[in-house]
């Protein structure tokens, strides 16, 4: 039953694979930034006094969390042109990743906000701070600190989810790998290699998050 390994096509395609990694990282980081913005903004709106805005956030979170990402990305890909917005696959994928990650980020960050002691908010109120200042200056940082490990996990997840963007031919590692595989039929070698590359990227992002966290949340607590 001889399956002889042949890494020649992979080696020949290595520059393309590395470019694919860069594409993946671009999707991942852009998606994370968008997710974080949606997450923080969503939690702020979720806690506001405008009832319709609160319900809109809840509906958005439920919609995203109860539908598959592949369907979401197709939806964004085919729905945007209908409203006159024509975007190339990569920006489309970033938007889809941001929306998806944002919904999960809302739930995670909301948990962090709820873990903040009521006395913190009361101290802010007693000082005369308006509610949005209390959220921004008093609550947000400790809340993010409290959920930072979950947020990191969610963003690693987002990084891996970028591979689904190959479905709309966004430029990222899995699309590049598919091309090489189609030409060479070296499925095992190609997917084995990108498995390793994904693993390395996840690990790198984990390290980066650790570094950022140690800087940004570097205050002593009892």
């Amino acid at each position: 039953m001889g399956y002889t390994l042949d890494f020649q096509p992979v080696i020949a395609g290595l520059p393309d694979l590395l470019k694919g990694c860069a594409g993946t990282l671009l999707l991942a980081f852009s998606g994370m930034i968008l997710s974080l913005a949606i997450g923080i903004g969503g939690v702020a709106v979720r806690g506001s006094s405008v009832r319709t805005a609160r319900w809109a956030v809840i509906a958005f979170v439920e919609l995203i969390r109860n539908t598959p990402f592949l369907v979401q990305i197709y939806f964004v890909f085919f729905a945007l042109p209908l409203v006159g917005i024509r975007l190339p696959p990569t920006p489309t994928a970033i938007i889809a990743l941001g929306l998806n990650g944002g919904a999960y980020a809302i739930e995670i960050i909301r948990g962090g906000v709820q873990s903040i002691h009521r006395g913190q908010i009361e101290a802010g109120l007693a000082l005369g701070l308006p509610r949005r200042d209390i959220f921004r200056f008093v609550v947000l940082r400790p809340a993010l600190r409290a959920v930072y490990p979950s947020l990191t996990g969610q963003f690693i997840m987002l990084t891996l989810t970028t591979s689904i963007a190959s479905a709309i031919a966004a430029y990222e590692l899995t699309s590049v790998a598919k091309l090489i595989e189609n030409e060479s039929f070296r499925s095992f070698e190609v997917y084995g290699t990108i498995t390793l590359l994904y693993l390395l990227m996840s690990w790198g992002i984990m390290q980066a998050f650790g570094l950022v966290g140690r800087r940004y949340f570097d205050y002593p607590v009892k």
């Binding site: 009361e122 109120l125 007693a126 000082l127 701070l129 002593p220």
Partner: protein, 252 residues
């Protein structure tokens, strides 16, 4: 030892009723605090002391009656509430310092955001009050690096940085180890001597004797007695006040 206070009212509560759901927490409370006056509020647990002072800066809403602070009649509008909160500082039992900010940042946030003071001025004011509560050298530390007594003194300085016209204290020494109670009380006594208008919920009767112009006794959401400390401690009129005094004096 009490100082003369002007006859003008800074805080007036009249006919204040407060319910938590079905529970009647404040029953027809009338209280007038004159400018410069120091009031100690005491009474058994659950009598509504915290509720009362939290109504003054609108941390709790009332259902009936009227509260006027420095000429501003409190209602539920954000503008009025903010105006009152700017003039009234509050110190909590559990300090509630912001853990992710240094002592200095804790003290400068509200003046900069609320009073729109420049960072340099806010820092200068903060340093002045931190010196006053004798904690100037800890300005760059984080709350978790301070003892309870130090944290509470920072909390007092933080409130003072807003240059309030009155200070509310809700059991400021109850969460402290006994050896730290005195440093906080001394800070409060200093503040009282400078003429700050104060409403303090506390069971520190020594403090009450020393600085209070009036001791107000509450039970079951009602003010049952209000008198000068000497009169109140020597000869409490209300039987519940007598029982209460007997209990806390037995503990001290």
């Amino acid at each position: 030892m009490s100082q003369a206070s002007s006859s003008e009212a800074l805080i007036t509560m009249s006919g204040v009723d407060k319910w938590y759901g079905d529970f009647h927490a404040l029953k027809g409370v009338d209280l007038e605090v004159r400018r410069g006056e120091k009031i100690v509020l005491c009474g058994p647990s659950g009598s509504g002391k915290s509720t009362l002072i939290r109504c003054i800066n609108h941390l709790e809403t009332i259902q009936k009656g009227r509260i006027v602070v420095d000429g501003i009649a409190l209602d539920d509008s954000a503008r009025v509430v903010d105006a009152v909160r700017r003039e009234v500082g509050m110190v909590f039992q559990s300090f509630n310092l912001f853990p992710h900010m240094t002592v200095l940042e804790n003290c400068t946030l509200a003046p900069m955001r609320v009073r729109k003071v420049s960072p340099a001025d806010a820092k200068a004011t903060a340093r002045k009050y931190l010196e006053k509560v004798r904690i100037g050298e800890q300005a760059n530390k984080y709350p978790a690096q301070l003892s309870g007594g130090q944290q509470q003194r920072v909390a007092i300085a933080r409130a003072l940085c807003m240059e309030p016209k009155a200070m509310l204290f809700d059991e400021p020494t109850s969460a402290l180890d006994p050896e730290m109670v005195k440093e906080v009380l001394d800070t409060m006594i200093g503040l009282a001597r400078e003429g700050m208008t104060m409403v303090c919920v506390t069971h520190e009767m020594g403090f009450a004797r020393q600085v209070a112009d009036r001791v107000v006794f509450m039970a079951d959401g009602e003010i049952l007695e209000a008198a000068e400390p000497e009169t109140f401690f020597k000869n409490p009129q209300n039987p519940r006040a007598r029982t209460f005094l007997g209990e806390i004096l037995a503990h001290h």
